[in-house]
Amino acid sequence: MLVGIGVSRYTPASMDDLYRDYILEHYRRPHNFGVIEDADASYEGANPLCGDRITLMLGVKDGIVDRVGFTGRGCAISQASASLLTDEIKGKPLSAVSAFRADDLLDLLGIEISPARLKCAMLSHDSLQHVLSDLGAADPTNTTPSPAEAGA
C-alpha cells in the first residue's frame, strides 16, 4: 500500500472553489438532458481540443422558448454550464434569451473560471448563439469570449 500520502499533500479544503457541490450535482444529474422531439433549431457545439461536445435543442412557441434539451458529453464545467443555461432560458421569451450574455452564465456558474477552462464553460453559450441565429433571433453583439487555444 502507499504510505505517507493522504495527510500532508491532500487537503480537500482547497477543492470546493471549482467543484462545488451544486456544480457536481448538475454534472451528475444534468437538467434538461435528452433529445426533444420536433426541435425548431439545434446545434452541435464542440471543443475539439478537449473532447467536450453538446447538442443544444430549442422549441419555440409564440415567441417563448417552451422546450429545451441538450445531449453530449464533456467535463464537469461544460456539462454543468449547459445544465444551468438550459434551466435559465426555459420559458423565457426569445428576446430575453438572446440578451443572455456570457457574463450572465459565468454568474450562474458562480465559480472562478481560469482561462484554460473558459472554453468549457462557454460551450453552451456559444451553441446557444448558433441556435438563435438559426431562429433569426441572435443578437450579433452577444458574443462568446474565446481565449487563445492551447496546442502540442
Partner: protein
C-alpha cells in the same frame, strides 16, 4: 511549489524541464559572447560561431550522424518535418504518388503530408494499429506493394508510448524503394538513437522535450538528400553569392538555415545532448522502463477503476501512461490533480485520429523524463484517489 505543494511534473512528453547546465550555457552566451554567427571578424562573433557549430557537432554525435553537416537546426520537430515536406516533398511527390503514415502520428507528422498530397494530387495511406497500440506490420507489408515514395512515422508514440520497430520497418520500406522519415520527437529524450543503425533517411526532433531550450530542434538527413533538396526558407545565411536576379546557395547545412539562427537555443541543445550522453541513453531508458513497469503495476492496484491504454509490456513502451477514470472527464482529473501540484496533460495530445481510432474523446496522460521518480507515480496514485473522492465515484 504549486498550490502549496511540491511540483510533481508528469507532463514531460509535452516539454521537459531543463537542467542548470543548459540554462547556464545559454546564460553565458547572452552575457559573455552574445553576437551574430558567421559574420563578425571580432572575438565574440568568432566565439559565438564556434560554439554554434560545436553544438551542431554535439547533436550529430548524440544521434551518431556520420557528418555534422547533415544536422540542420530548426525551431522544433514540426519545422524539421515541414522542411522535408516543402523542400524534398515538392520536388519528389507528384500525381498519384503514395506516402505511407500510421494511425498514431502526431499532427506534426500528418498535416504537412496532407497539405503536400492535396497540392500534388498524391495519396496518403495509413498503417493501422492494434487495440493496444502496436503497428500492424502485416498491413504495412501490403501497403508497400503500392510502391510509396515515402514512409513517415513516429519512433515513439507521444500518446500511447509505443516504441516502434524502426529498423525492421526501415528495411521493409527500403526494400520497396521508399525513403523513410522518422519523427523522433519522443525518442531522443528517452531511448538511444543511432541514425546509422536505424538506417532511416530523415530524422526530425525537438530540443525542448530532451532537456534543451524551447525553440531548438533539428533535422538530420543523409548528405546526398540534403544536397539535392532545394532551400526551404530563403534570405541571408543560406546563400553564397547573390545577384539581382539569381543567387547561388550555400552548402549544407547552412543552405537550410536562412536568417539569423537561434544561437543561444542551439548552444543549449548541444549542451543537453552532451548531458544526456554523459548520463548514458541506455541508463536513461532503463530508468524510464522501470518507471513504466512501476506505474503499470501501482496505478491499477491503487486505483482499480483506472483505464490504461497502450502496450502493456514495458519493453515496448516509452515513459508515457495515458489513462481515464470512468465517469470523470480528463480535464477534471487534471484540474483536481493540479490542486495537489501534480501536472498531467488532458486532451487529445495532438493525435485526434488516434483518439478516434480508439473511440476516446480524450485522455489524461502522465509522462516521464530522466528526473521522474517512483515517488511521482505514488503521488499520482494518491491524487487519483482524491479525484475519485471529489467526484464521488
Amino acid at each position: 511549489m504549486i498550490n502549496g505543494h511540491k511540483l510533481v511534473y508528469l507532463d514531460s512528453a509535452s516539454s521537459s524541464q531543463k537542467p542548470s547546465a543548459v540554462i547556464d550555457a545559454m546564460d553565458a552566451y547572452y552575457r559573455e559572447y552574445n553576437a551574430n554567427v558567421h559574420r563578425g571578424i571580432y572575438t565574440i562573433g568568432e566565439k559565438a560561431t564556434a560554439e554554434y557549430e560545436k553544438a551542431r557537432a554535439r547533436v550529430a554525435r548524440f544521434i551518431n550522424a556520420p557528418d555534422s553537416h547533415e544536422i540542420v537546426f530548426t525551431r522544433n520537430a514540426t519545422e524539421a518535418i515541414n522542411l522535408v515536406s516543402y523542400s524534398w516533398g515538392r520536388r519528389n511527390i507528384s500525381r498519384g504518388d503514395v506516402i505511407v503514415l500510421t494511425e498514431m502520428e502526431h499532427h506534426a507528422n500528418l498535416v504537412p503530408w496532407q497539405i503536400l498530397v492535396q497540392e500534388k494530387d498524391g495519396d496518403l495511406e495509413f498503417i493501422p494499429i492494434t487495440d493496444d497500440g502496436i503497428l500492424r506490420l502485416d498491413v504495412f507489408e501490403v501497403l508497400l506493394r503500392l510502391k510509396p515514395k515515402l514512409v513517415a512515422f513516429t519512433h515513439v508514440s507521444n500518446t500511447l508510448g509505443t516504441i516502434n520497430p524502426v529498423r525492421e520497418m526501415v528495411e521493409m520500406a527500403h526494400a520497396a524503394g521508399a525513403l523513410v522519415l522518422i519523427d523522433g520527437a519522443q525518442a531522443v529524450p528517452h531511448v538511444p538513437v543511432d541514425v546509422q543503425e536505424l538506417g532511416c533517411d530523415f530524422y526530425a526532433f525537438s530540443g525542448h522535450k530532451m532537456l534543451a531550450p524551447m525553440g531548438s530542434g533539428a533535422l538530420w538527413a543523409r548528405r546526398e538528400l540534403l544536397e539535392a533538396m532545394p532551400p526551404f526558407l530563403a534570405g541571408g545565411e543560406m546563400i553564397r553569392e547573390v545577384h539581382l536576379r539569381r543567387s547561388e546557395f550555400n552548402e549544407i547545412p547552412w543552405k537550410f538555415e536562412a536568417g539569423t539562427p537561434a544561437v543561444g537555443d542551439a548552444i543549449g541543445l548541444g549542451v543537453a545532448a552532451e548531458y544526456l550522453q554523459a548520463l548514458g541513453m541506455d541508463a536513461v531508458r532503463e530508468h524510464e522502463r522501470d518507471l513504466v513497469a512501476y506505474a503499470l503495476e501501482v496505478l491499477p492496484r491503487e486505483v482499480p477503476a483506472i483505464e490504461l491504454y497502450g502496450p502493456l509490456d514495458p519493453d515496448l513502451r516509452g515513459g508515457v501512461i495515458p489513462f481515464n477514470l470512468p465517469g470523470i472527464h480528463p480535464h477534471d482529473v487534471a484540474q483536481v490533480l493540479d490542486r495537489f501540484g501534480i501536472a498531467v496533460r488532458a486532451g487529445h495530445h495532438c493525435t485526434m485520429p488516434l483518439h478516434e481510432r480508439l473511440d476516446l474523446a480524450a485522455t489524461a496522460r502522465a509522462s516521464f523524463n530522466v528526473y521522474s521518480t517512483r515517488e511521482d507515480i505514488d503521488a499520482l496514485a494518491g491524487g487519483l484517489m482524491e479525484v475519485q473522492k471529489v467526484f464521488n465515484v
